[in-house]
C-alpha cells in the first residue's frame, strides 16, 4: 500500500452551550489532532457556535454496518413495554 500524501480525516464534535452534549458537526482534514482543533475552530465556529471542540480521527471510529440492521435493531421493534408509556400520570404532576 502506498502512503497517502493527504492529511487524515477528522470527525468534529462541538458543544454549543454548557450542559449540552457534544454534537457531530462534520469532518475536515488536518495533519494532527492539535491542528484539527484549530481547523475546526476556523471552519465550524465562525458564528460563535462553540464552547468546546472534540476531534477524533475518522479511522478510529468503528461504525455499525448497514447490513447488520436486521439483527441489531429489529429485535427491539416489538418490545413496546420498554417505552415508559404505560403509566397513568396524575394531572398534578404536570408535563413529564
Amino acid at each position: 500500500m502506498t502512503e497517502s500524501k493527504e492529511w487524515p480525516l477528522w470527525e468534529i464534535f462541538i458543544r454549543g452551550q454548557h450542559g449540552m452534549s457534544h454534537r457531530h458537526v462534520g469532518s475536515l482534514h488536518a495533519p494532527d489532532a492539535e491542528r484539527a482543533i484549530k481547523n475546526a475552530r476556523d471552519v465550524y465556529t465562525r458564528r460563535n457556535e462553540g464552547t468546546s471542540i472534540w476531534v477524533v480521527e475518522a479511522s478510529s471510529i468503528t461504525a455499525s454496518s448497514p447490513s447488520d440492521k436486521g439483527p441489531l435493531y429489529e429485535p427491539s421493534r416489538d418490545k413496546v413495554y420498554r417505552h415508559p408509556s404505560f403509566y397513568d400520570i396524575p394531572d398534578d404532576a404536570g408535563n413529564m
Binding site: 482534514h29 484549530k38 481547523n39 471552519v43 465562525r46
Partner: protein, 254 residues
C-alpha cells in the same frame, strides 16, 4: 515628505494601514488556498484584520476631524498616503512567504497590542484589547505552520528559507523610531517600537530554530512605508484592485 501636524492621526494611520494592507493581501487567498481548511482560516484572518482596520481608521478619521470616514481613508487615498510597513505590501508569492510574513508580523503584534492595552488613550486601549485576542490566535497558527513547513520536506524547507531571506530585510521597519513614535511615547499612548525588538528577536529566533530555518544575518533594513516616504512598486498595483469599486462609483454602498 511634510511633517504631519497631528502625530496621533499619523500613529492611527500606521495601525490601520498595517491591518488593512495585510488584510487585503491575505484575502487574495480566498478561494485559492492550498486546502479548504487553510483557505477558510486565511479568510478568517483577513476578516479579523479588516475588522481591526475599521476600528483604527474609524478613530483616525475622528481624530483628523475633516469629515472623512474609515472607508474614505481606506479607498480614497493614494499609495503615498499609506503608512503601512513595506513587508505587508509585497506580494504573497506562495503560501510559504504568506505564512512567514504573517508569523513575523504576528510575533510583533502580540506584544505590541498587549502593551497598547495600557495606553493613556482609552480608545487605543480598547481597540488593542479587542485585537490582541485575534493576534494571539493568528500567532499560534502562523508559528505552527512555519515550524511544520520549515521542518517539512526538502521543497517546503527551501521555500520557507527563501521566504525568510526575502522578508527579513523588511522586518526591521517594524522597529522604526521617528518623531511620531517619540510623541506617542511621551504622551503615554504607545511604547517605543524599538523597545520590543529584543523580545521579538528572541521569540522569533526560538520558533525559527524549531523550524530548522536560519536567521539571515544581513542587518540591512528597508524603510519608507510607515513614513510614506517611499512604498514599493507593489502597493499601487494592490490598491488599484482594492480601490477600483469606490474609485469608479464613489460612495457606492450595499
Amino acid at each position: 515628505m511634510t511633517e504631519s501636524p497631528n502625530p496621533l492621526f499619523e500613529f492611527l494611520l500606521r495601525q490601520g494601514d498595517n491591518a488593512l494592507v495585510l488584510g487585503h493581501r491575505t484575502s487574495e487567498w480566498c478561494g485559492v488556498g492550498p486546502a479548504l481548511e487553510e483557505d477558510i482560516a486565511l479568510a478568517n484572518t483577513a476578516l479579523d484584520l479588516i475588522g481591526q482596520t475599521q476600528l483604527w481608521l474609524g478613530y483616525a478619521a475622528e481624530v483628523e476631524g475633516k469629515n472623512r470616514s474609515a472607508n474614505d481613508l481606506a479607498f480614497m487615498r493614494d499609495a503615498y498616503d499609506f503608512r503601512n510597513i513595506l513587508m505587508l505590501e509585497v506580494p504573497n508569492e506562495d503560501f510559504g512567504r504568506t505564512m512567514v510574513r504573517q508569523f513575523l508580523f504576528d510575533a510583533f503584534q502580540v506584544p505590541w497590542l498587549s502593551a497598547l492595552r495600557q495606553s493613556s488613550d482609552q480608545r487605543v486601549s480598547e481597540i488593542a484589547s479587542k485585537s490582541v485576542k485575534e493576534a494571539q490566535y493568528h500567532l499560534e497558527r502562523s508559528a505552527e505552520t512555519v515550524i511544520a513547513l520549515g521542518d517539512g520536506t526538502p521543497e517546503s524547507h527551501a521555500r520557507m528559507q527563501a521566504a525568510l531571506n526575502y522578508l527579513w530585510p523588511y522586518s526591521g521597519e517594524m522597529f522604526g523610531n521617528d518623531s511620531t513614535d517619540q510623541a506617542m511615547h511621551e504622551q503615554g499612548i504607545a511604547p517605543l517600537p524599538q523597545s520590543l525588538h529584543k523580545p521579538w528577536m528572541q521569540s522569533v529566533s526560538n520558533t525559527l530554530a524549531q523550524a530548522c530555518l536560519a536567521v539571515p544575518e544581513d542587518p540591512f533594513a528597508h524603510s519608507g512605508g510607515r513614513t510614506g516616504f517611499r512604498h514599493t512598486e507593489h502597493l499601487g498595483h494592490m490598491l488599484s484592485t482594492m480601490q477600483v469599486l469606490q474609485r469608479s462609483y464613489p460612495g457606492a454602498s450595499w
